[in-house]
Symmetry: C2
Subunit: 248 residues, 2 copies
DNA sequence: CCAAAAGTGTTGATGCTACACCCATGA
DNA sequence: TCATGGGTGTAGCATCAACACTTTTGG
């Protein structure tokens, strides 16, 4: 049997992470198949967000970092708190309880969770060979249905927060490679906003700001005219942004 | 000696509330002088946000409501979560520990707090006779200095969130009476934004939207031309707001 | 030469800023 | 009649949405 939680774990507070990634076309979310992750045999294919109870001497942000580094190997991930989720019944669905009884010292304890969202460049995340890491998967954001616990609610809150941030802050660049084309940036924004941004106006607005620095590099291996690549210059952005800049 | 906390209280999770009010001129915050509130004798005049540990069967939002209703008598207060604050040392300043030892069963327990902010019309809050409620006070937002625990951080986060919300959502009306003049609305926005909004342009923009319905009532008892009063019509606002409306 | 995406320009409407002055009222 | 805030008007500039066509490359 699996070793249960250690003593310094706080039984009442957990952290869950919504990790967004972008593959050039679609927005993705990192999900965990909990039965596989925890190596159980309870016939449960429920998907959940990666998360864990916090340690008693650990800051909330650090707990979130710990979870993400454990999953992806990446350090210094862009991370931001979504908020606390504490409905008294949030762990009480029967399926969820089965899993908790298998894994927790106090399966019926009241647990408040603190949600975080992260943005990572999907190419920096090495998908480990199937079988070893089958319990982790990049799921299309658009087609996520039910998740375990209240994780769908956390995901919905995360996307709202992301959209909101995207409006004024340069977080989109976290999801792209260091060099990117304007149209990749456009696709990203358009996808996340689920909406109809005009491609031509978007391009013009971005270029006018001056915080995109053009490089001498172009896309390679594409079956059409290769686009010029740009980098994001934070210093320039900070100037522009004082002037109440908006991305869309 | 004061009765200590009851058994069903969760020792690891609390809720703290930032209550903003507006008196027509200045933005105010509701603060508590903790020694007086808890009827202690520990020579401690530290100001803190109103807050409490949550009960184990109680939703976070409900805990915040409970605290506010207890303080002000008002039910159905506008309330919104700010986020969780969980630095491991957040209760460990010596002054804070003195107070905790006097009041808590587990004064050194790790406590994560969830912050909320509320907006109330200052006139709906009956200030009780001094002596009885001296421990509660409306403090000018501008002149708040240090607070106990990490409450200054929570307050700073709250004002940022308020400013952000103010931009797109009609929360300002929560701080005014049902009927208000355009210039009262202007003063409120200008005060909260700490900034220089043009009064005339603000008025024009607000009136153009159509979600302010003019009444036949005017200010009374003012030593100058009485302003016409308006009400806020949410239904109209929802129309306008689909169209990406911004307040400033 | 075809497909597919990159890249470019214009026009009209709208909104915003930055202004200064008169009005109505109570004291 | 004076002080105080209430209320109005305009002109120029900047921004934005809406829209279609040409260019460059790989296959």
């Amino acid at each position: 049997m699996r070793e249960k939680i250690k003593n310094q774990t706080n039984p009442n507070v957990s952290v869950d992470c919504v990790v967004f990634g972008f593959d050039g076309t679609d927005l993705k979310v990192l999900l965990v198949q909990r039965e596989l992750r925890d190596n159980l045999n309870i016939n449960d294919d429920t998907l959940v967000l990666p998360g864990d109870l916090i340690n008693d001497n650990e800051d909330l942000d650090d707990a979130a970092s710990r979870i993400l580094t454990g999953l992806t190997g990446i350090r210094n991930i862009f991370l931001e708190q979504i908020g606390a989720f504490g409905h008294p019944q949030r762990l009480m669905k029967e399926r969820d309880q089965v899993w908790l009884r298998a894994i927790r010292l106090e399966p019926s304890a009241r647990v408040i969770t603190v949600g975080y969202f992260a943005l990572i460049n999907i190419k920096n995340y090495k998908v480990k060979p199937a079988g070893f890491a089958k319990h982790i998967l990049w799921h299309d954001y658009d087609t996520v249905n039910e998740l375990g616990f209240d994780h769908k609610l956390i995901l919905d809150t995360a996307i709202a927060k992301l959209r909101n941030k995207l409006y004024r802050e340069p977080v989109g660049f976290q999801l792209l490679s260091k060099e990117f084309s304007i149209n990749q940036l456009y696709t990203l924004y358009n996808e996340i906003m689920g909406g109809e941004i005009d491609r031509r106006n978007f391009r013009r607005r971005m270029l006018k700001t001056g915080f995109l620095k053009e490089t001498d590099n172009f896309q390679e291996g594409v079956p059409h005219k290769p686009a010029r690549l740009y980098t994001f210059v934070r210093k320039e952005f900070d100037n522009v942004s004082k002037n109440n800049f908006k991305f869309y």
